[in-house]
Amino acid sequence: MFKLIRVFLITSVFILITTACKHYKVAGTKIESSKERIVVPYFNTAGKEYLYNAKIDVFNNELSGILVVKKLDDKRKRLALLSEFGNTLLDFEMVNNEVNVIYIMEDLNKKLIVAKLKKYFQLLVHSNYEIKQTYSFENGSNLVSKLHGKRIILRNNNNAQLISLQQVSVWREKVKIDFYAEGKHADSIHFKSFEIPVKIKLRMRK
């Protein structure tokens, strides 16, 4: 009897590991590439002020506001989220790979929320990635990199235009950002977290 139970348990764990806990696989065929770095062109012109209308869906509550990003110099970027009335909801400064909170409104100032917001907005505006691996597929390529030890997949189309950025763990996708862009300007950006129910849609403010 015990033998039967042991066989059943081992089989169940094996099935669980091979199905539910399937490794996250990067699409495409691994290729050798001489390219060592990729520079994300969005939010990356020094001195330019990027203004976006933001629709934020957090735990099924919708907020609307304005996202402002400015690259101050080679090492620093500033990002602020404002309400339609103009009051500042949050104001972050990115220096190299670190994010400093200049201001965050009290309702958002909870350790977990601040940590997620820092991570999400850094993913949105971070621009310099070291390429670890390159995968090629019919419509473009996937470039694998790391940010703070987390795996990042940058997807280019056939014109070498960055169309999406994902943060993935060994097992699954955590964050996805889709860029609808031409050249250095992303007209529209869709952000989705698979960790917590957060979606952000950005549309360039005319």
């Binding site: 203004l51 209308n53 339609e84 103009g86 500042t88 409104m105």
Partner: protein, 206 residues
């Protein structure tokens, strides 16, 4: 020669920026004028221009719209450019119309009540005897400047000072400046202001 130019420039700026406290007599006359006007005030309809100033930006963020206020406390703040977005404060509720997408927020929350009170009070000039603010009065160029510093701890976290500008011969506000604790501010300028006009009640419908 350059020192003379520098001196003249600094002198001109110091004159422009000069704010002198109202004398007791001037203050009494001003308060009387505003009180009389607000007593008979039934409604305000005005266009507005909103300008958000952030120290790290070279250009302020601009919005435009229309504002409607009725003596029963109903207030509509309608953005028309660059975004279509409106907020109605009515019967303790906040009705939001985000480019056709409608939602309602309960206005029972303390913060919303304070915001509504602050906005409608700023526009109509009914804030002068408010115990929630420390109020001082100045002459500033062609305006009378009323500075309100919140006493309320909650409000203080969002707004460090409200400046109301009254043209010397006018009893209603022409500009409202909401200064945040960081020093960044939102300046709202009212133009084409009409007092005691008939406002179609459907304006305040959701």
């Amino acid at each position: 020669m350059k020192y003379i130019v520098l001196f003249c420039t600094l002198f001109t700026f110091s004159l422009l920026a000069q704010e002198t406290k109202l004398t007791a007599q001037e203050l009494s006359a001003f308060k009387q004028r505003v009180e009389q006007e607000t007593k008979s005030l039934k409604s305000i309809r005005t266009d507005f221009e909103q300008s958000k100033h952030m120290a790290f930006l070279s250009n302020d963020i601009q919005s435009k719209g229309k504002m409607y206020l009725r003596s029963d406390g109903s207030l509509k703040w309608e953005y028309t450019s660059p975004n279509v977005y409106s907020v109605i404060f009515k019967n303790n509720s906040i009705l939001i119309n985000d480019n056709g997408k409608k939602s309602t927020v309960s206005g029972e929350q303390d913060m919303f009540k304070k915001i509504n009170h602050l906005i409608s009070g700023s526009v109509s000039g009914k804030l002068f005897d408010d115990k929630e603010f420390n109020i001082s009065y100045y002459k500033s160029g062609k305006n009378i400047l009323v500075k309100l510093i919140p006493n309320n701890k909650t409000l203080k976290k969002y707004i460090s000072e409200v400046n109301l500008y009254f043209p010397q011969q006018d009893a209603t506000v022409s500009k409202v400046k909401l200064i945040e604790p960081s020093g960044d501010f939102t300046l709202i300028t009212f133009i084409n202001k009409e007092l005691n006009v008939q406002i179609d009640p459907s304006i305040f419908n959701h």
